[in-house]
């Protein structure tokens, strides 16, 4: 018995001591270690994996070009990514490891609402710059000056999107909204419903489903009975959104379709099938193969597909752009200090794969920490994504 407890104790102390003598790699000169967090396993893995890939693509690009030149120094970028499995407690521990062990001052990329809050309890007190795609409203605020959202959220997107619908498609009066039952789903529906009501639409259904659901017949039967003109799959991820559209069509739905929080149009077209995906409007999709995107985006898409054998969704692009913007801000600030980079970020617009990008959102969040860029409304026609309108955020209209 003595032996058992001794083994346990000695093992613990030894491992801790041994690990403690490890040289943290970021302490070396000329390496900039940047952290990426996300769910890399389980049902939400597509988000985390896309975040890591987007960051990798930009980091490799910078390194291949000789490194990141900041002030008089040149840095090689090293990425450290951890899997938090969509668990808030795990995210906090992973963030602790990034900040205190790997000594990162920048975490670029995280997804899943509750985990962002958990990470922020670590990053904010340590002045670590934290950029994420989480969609919870409580994720941004004046009490969290080091936190950013790198992707347009439902709060930026819902109102202009439905304003466009009202203008261009006045026959749409009754809208049904459905999202998964989690933070982003809840916030998305809230934002969408608020926008709809403000614009005079009738909200005939405001529904939630458990993440992981594949059979939507039961919930669709109820939803379609209220005879909506438009079905918005809101915050549903591409796979589930596609299933909702496919099954809605089987059940006889022939109305307009929207995807307010669209991520990967190719997946949704694949899963829903061409006919069911026909006519889906989305204000957040990015189609890296479209004729309307810049050559940079198309190149990004091609290289991504070559490297990872899958087409990138908007999250990969968002993190690629975030990485781009933040490293550019470092160069503008001529410093790696987060306070200086923060100032540089809020000072002027940046040129990115999205087009012109600026930080804004003070009206909604109390502080300018939301990435704003041209919102592109697209429609799926004959299995292809076609960009049909561009809406500039007011901050970019000057």
């Amino acid at each position: 018995m003595r032996i058992r407890a001794s083994i346990a104790t000695i093992a613990m102390v030894a491992l801790v001591a041994a690990a403690g003598t490890r040289t943290p790699s970021a302490a070396e000169d000329k390496t900039l270690t940047i952290g990426v967090l996300g769910p890399l396993s389980g049902g939400a893995a597509s988000y985390g994996v896309e975040l890591v890939r987007g960051a990798e693509m930009k980091a490799d690009e910078i390194n291949k070009a000789g490194g990141l030149k900041v002030g008089g120094d040149v840095y090689k970028i090293k990425l450290v990514s951890y899997d938090h499995k969509a668990l808030a407690a795990d995210a906090a521990t992973a963030a602790n490891k990034l900040v205190f062990q790997d000594k990162v001052k920048y975490i670029i990329g995280n997804a899943v609402g509750a985990t962002c809050n958990a990470v922020q309890t670590v990053t904010e007190p340590e002045k670590v710059l934290f950029s994420f795609v989480c969609w919870g409203t409580s994720n941004l605020g004046p009490d969290k000056p080091y936190s950013f959202r790198a992707m347009l959220s439902q709060w930026e997107v819902a109102e202009p999107f439905y304003r466009w619908v009202k203008e261009k498609h006045p026959h749409v009066k009754r809208v049904a909204v459905i999202s998964p039952n989690d933070t982003s789903g809840k916030d998305t529906n809230t934002a969408v419903v608020k926008a709809l009501k403000g614009l005079g639409f009738e909200v005939v259904a405001d529904e939630y489903y458990e993440r992981g659901t594949k059979d939507f017949y039961p919930i669709l039967t109820k939803l379609l009975a209220s005879k909506p003109d438009m079905l918005d799959v809101a915050a549903a991820p591409a796979g589930e959104g596609g299933l909702i559209l496919k099954q809605a069509r089987e059940l006889g739905f022939k109305g307009a379709k929207g995807w307010t929080a669209g991520t990967n149009p190719f997946t949704i077209i694949g899963v829903a099938g061409k006919e069911a995906a026909e006519g889906v409007w989305s204000p957040t999709n990015i189609n890296v193969k479209s004729d309307f995107v810049s050559a940079t985006v198309r190149r990004f898409g091609e290289e991504y597909e070559k490297r990872y054998k899958e087409v990138p969704g908007v999250i990969a692009v968002a993190n690629y752009a975030a990485f781009d913007v933040i490293t550019k801000a470092m160069q503008d600030a001529r410093s790696l200090e987060t306070d200086k980079v923060l100032t540089a970020l809020t000072q002027k617009p940046f040129d990115t794969v999205w087009g012109k990008l600026v930080l804004g959102g003070k009206d909604t969040y109390g502080i300018d920490r939301q990435f704003l860029y041209p919102m592109v409304i697209s429609e799926i026609r004959d299995g292809k994504v076609v960009d049909i309108a561009q809406v500039l955020p007011s901050a970019l209209k000057k």
Binding site: S41, Y208, Y209, G212, Y217, P218, I219, G242, V311
Partner: protein
């Protein structure tokens, strides 16, 4: 709320219930023969889905041939898993729990690394819908349900009439007596595990065109399978069928009246009630 709506709701629930029953039957078969609960069961379902994706969607093999391939491949995978990992764990429920959990993670993470993380669609072999007196059911789901029923009947006949099937039943009833009668327990365990996994693989193959495939697709069916076998009774084939219909009906109707979280709670409430009132399950006797 019209009668039409209620009946459609019931139909929705029943629509794919038989496929979940297949998954449940696989789980309960393994439980009866090896006395362990395989938590990685959903991953064999997922494997069947990916075999279907590669053989049917990418390679272009005939749908029913693909189904047979999925059943066979996953069955063999099951036998391998049993020989390598599970055969020493007979009756050791807690250890089997941990091991199958480990297997779940290995298989799911492995699938993600091997097949990619995005949902992969599988084209439907059958399209169109059938409309009868205002009710709708898709042809695809109809074919899938009928195929599942065929497989369930095939399983029933196999267990009843074939030698290996009867050996399995003997081991499930009383392994010591079966051993005394000359039944090779090892062989039956391996075969039983294989057949159980094959059933899950078949279900995965059937649902692949309906729901697309993804590495984590096995999580939900396995929860449904648990609810089904508890309600119906562990070790009972007719019990599983009854449990499946009951769960399907409850979920279908429930969705009309309450939110999705409440419907999930309803499923678990059913489990609690059955375990308290009739722990052996509605038809159970094993």
């Amino acid at each position: 709320m019209s009668i039409e709506l209620l009946v459609q709701a019931l139909l929705n629930g029943f629509g794919l219930a038989m496929v979940y029953v297949l998954v449940a039957l696989g789980l309960t078969l393994i439980f009866s023969i090896l006395e362990i609960i395989n938590f990685a069961h959903g991953e064999f379902y997922m494997l069947g889905g990916y075999v279907t994706y590669y053989a049917y969607a990418l390679f272009g093999l005939n749908y029913f041939a693909t189904l047979a391939l999925a059943i066979l491949t996953v069955g063999i995978a099951g036998v391998v898993a049993e020989r390598l990992i599970f055969h020493d764990l007979r009756g050791k429920a807690l250890n089997a729990f941990i091991v199958s959990l480990g297997l779940l993670w290995v298989m799911q993470a492995g699938a993600q690394l091997a097949f990619g993380v995005l949902d992969k669609p599988v084209p439907s072999a059958f399209s169109g819908v059938v409309r009868l007196v205002g009710l709708v059911i898709s042809v695809e789901r109809l074919v899938v349900s009928l195929s599942a029923i065929v497989l369930i009947v095939a399983l029933y006949l196999f267990l009843r009439l074939s030698r290996p099937g009867r050996a399995m039943r003997a081991v499930a009833q009383d392994p010591d007596a079966a051993a005394l009668q000359g039944v090779n327990i090892d062989a039956v365990s391996a075969l039983g595990f294989g057949v159980g996994c094959a059933l899950a693989g078949g279900a995965g193959g059937l649902l692949a065109p309906v729901f697309a495939v993804s590495p984590a697709m096995g999580a939900l069916p396995v929860v449904k399978a648990f609810i089904i076998i508890i309600v119906g009774g562990m070790g009972s084939l007719p019990g599983a069928v009854l449990g499946g219909l009951l769960l399907g009906g409850v979920e279908g109707l429930g969705a009309l009246f309450m939110g999705s979280a409440a419907v999930s709670i309803l499923g678990f409430a059913m489990v609690i009630v059955v375990l308290l009132v009739r722990p052996r399950g509605l038809v159970g006797g094993a």
